[in-house]
Symmetry: C2
Subunit: 343 residues, 2 copies
């Protein structure tokens, strides 16, 4: 049911009547309805309320006309089930007050049991699928092992990820143990989402671009590959990362039906280098949505032309919607992608 | 005099008996002697004292055995001569309290007169050249127009450079005027450095990696190219940027004898794509210098092997030395580059 939707067909690199489009963080602070809900509940409170999370998940489908929904949540949600204390301070991003420092901390990490640890998210998936009635597919998602490890070790975001790299390069057996646990947890988490109704998956390796290609290949790729091999059989998987234009061939080697790219590269050139045996997702610069309609249209056109009508392009931003983005511009962008790409 | 030094020969892609090496920010906070000096004087005070700036410039030559010195300073120093009020708050980077907001602010910017506006830096170049007695060449440097514009508009560093892009995309005639002034100022600044004794130049387009390739080509490349064409005839020029692995072919198109790259790409693959008609500088991950000697040696070896002994490789980090780097590791790295690359 719904398997012939334009988004899922593009994931399978089948030709479509127009280019499907969705946006990372398309349900978020830039939207008035989202801010209204957030006045009543914290970010974690929202994630943990299945009805509210479902409502927020559906907002962009109704309001923007996007071709896919993505379940509302955060890549760090499963960490709580591993025994990590999570905070989301307004405007400062996530904060972990008990970050990992040594082998014992890694041994103490529990493997998650999705039904017990993230029942709210699984319930929200059920609600969204029911409400959507097959109009657009629902994407589930998770953080990739490296990106999760970076939060666990740094305690939040970092400028240089030197603590993460310090553990990776200096304590390879601890690193291996940590990445194994995170890979196993991510597999369980994604499988549970598919079992409850997620029709596609996106694996976010958001911060892996801090690495050099040699270290990615040696210390990260095997764990991402394991996750993708274990869950990518069931539904299409989008493998997304930022700042990896110099080693996207290794990201592809780790796996994924679709490679999600940032905006610091030409989509067409990149796709040609990667080969047309994967789809590609991207890659509008999110800042373009702060500009005029004329500028937006020029940039949308540039991305579409670059993709050259090859089957397997999913239009998206290169990263999340900026909070100061006018919602009218997002609506205009989605409409422009549909209008300009219609064959 | 000194034109046959290994560093300058590598800049000209002549073969050398070993790979020359220097490090961005190799005179800085990680060094005890530097911290001792900084206890007595502010950062700007140090930049503006020719004797102290010369002393700091010479430190890495004496202590690390690097193959080039780079004049001590900051890419933002010439902005003061343009009428901008600069501050360097400890640990927070540069701060501009009167950033550019509109066309009038741009009209008010003065063109610098290096002899009047940065006499201290030119004097320091003279002292360093005299003290060096031709042992190693001295590199001069400047910020590229885009990176300078980003500081002027954002007032400091930024996560998304959305104000800069807003002016670039929304007010193209203001942008053009600003970039013209910055290009002209940068030409004057670099020429003055060469006239006083700089034997090579590095143009830092540190933050240009925030752009997409289309906007780089349309709104930035022409100004960088003008700078490089006007000053690159006299001495070799290294064109450095971060996060541009997806559009290094455009960085090369803007010009430079040597392209300076970050660590998020394989140096050998990148060089092959760019073509061997330019040299390449890089690209060790700075975090590697926080690890053990064994890890450092493996990573140095990897970069050297990747470069494959082609003439025109200058060994460097992919960005500046991290402040927490042990100085012994830097000494070991320089020694390792020399030892492993000796033909």
């Amino acid at each position: 049911m719904g398997e012939d939707h334009v988004f899922l067909r593009a994931c399978r690199r089948e030709s479509t009547e127009y280019t499907p489009v969705w946006l990372m963080r398309h349900a978020g602070r830039y939207m008035e309805e989202y801010r209204d809900i957030r006045r009543k509940v914290t970010f974690l409170g929202l994630c943990k309320s299945p009805d509210l999370a479902a409502e927020v998940t559906l907002l962009p489908v109704q309001k923007l006309g996007v071709d896919a929904a993505i379940i509302f949540g955060d890549i760090l949600l499963p960490l709580e089930g591993m025994g990590i204390h999570l905070e989301f301070a307004e405007g400062r991003g996530p904060l972990i007050r008990n970050p990992i420092r040594e082998g014992e901390d890694i041994e103490r990490l529990r493997l998650i049991e999705p039904e017990e640890d993230v029942p709210f998210l699984l319930k929200a998936i059920e609600i969204v699928r029911r409400e959507l009635e097959g109009r657009v597919p629902l994407i589930g998602f998770a953080g990739a092992p490296f990106t999760l490890a970076s939060y666990l070790i740094e305690g939040g975001r970092s400028n240089d990820y030197s603590k993460t790299k310090g553990l990776m390069l200096g304590f390879p057996s601890w690193w291996h143990r940590l990445m194994e646990k995170l890979a196993e947890g991510t597999i369980r988490y994604l499988r549970a989402q598919v079992n409850r109704g997620a029709q596609a998956l996106q694996l976010f390796d958001t911060w892996v671009g801090c690495l050099n290609p040699g270290d990615y290949e040696a210390h990260v790729l095997p764990y991402s590959r394991r996750v993708i091999q274990e869950v990518g059989e069931q539904v299409p998987l989008i493998h997304f990362s930022v700042g990896t234009s110099g080693f996207l061939h290794l990201i592809k080697k780790a796996g994924g039906d679709v490679i999600g790219i940032d905006w610091h590269m030409d989509l067409g050139r990149t796709w040609e280098c990667l080969g047309y045996d994967v789809g590609i997702q991207g890659n509008l610069d999110p800042s373009v949505l702060l500009a005029s309609r004329q500028v937006i249209e020029v940039h949308v056109q540039r991305v579409l032309e670059s993709a050259g009508n090859c089957p397997g392009h999913i239009f998206n931003l290169g990263h999340g919607v900026l909070p100061e983005t006018p919602v009218e511009n997002v609506i205009f962008m989605v409409e422009t992608v549909h209008r300009l790409s219609r064959r």
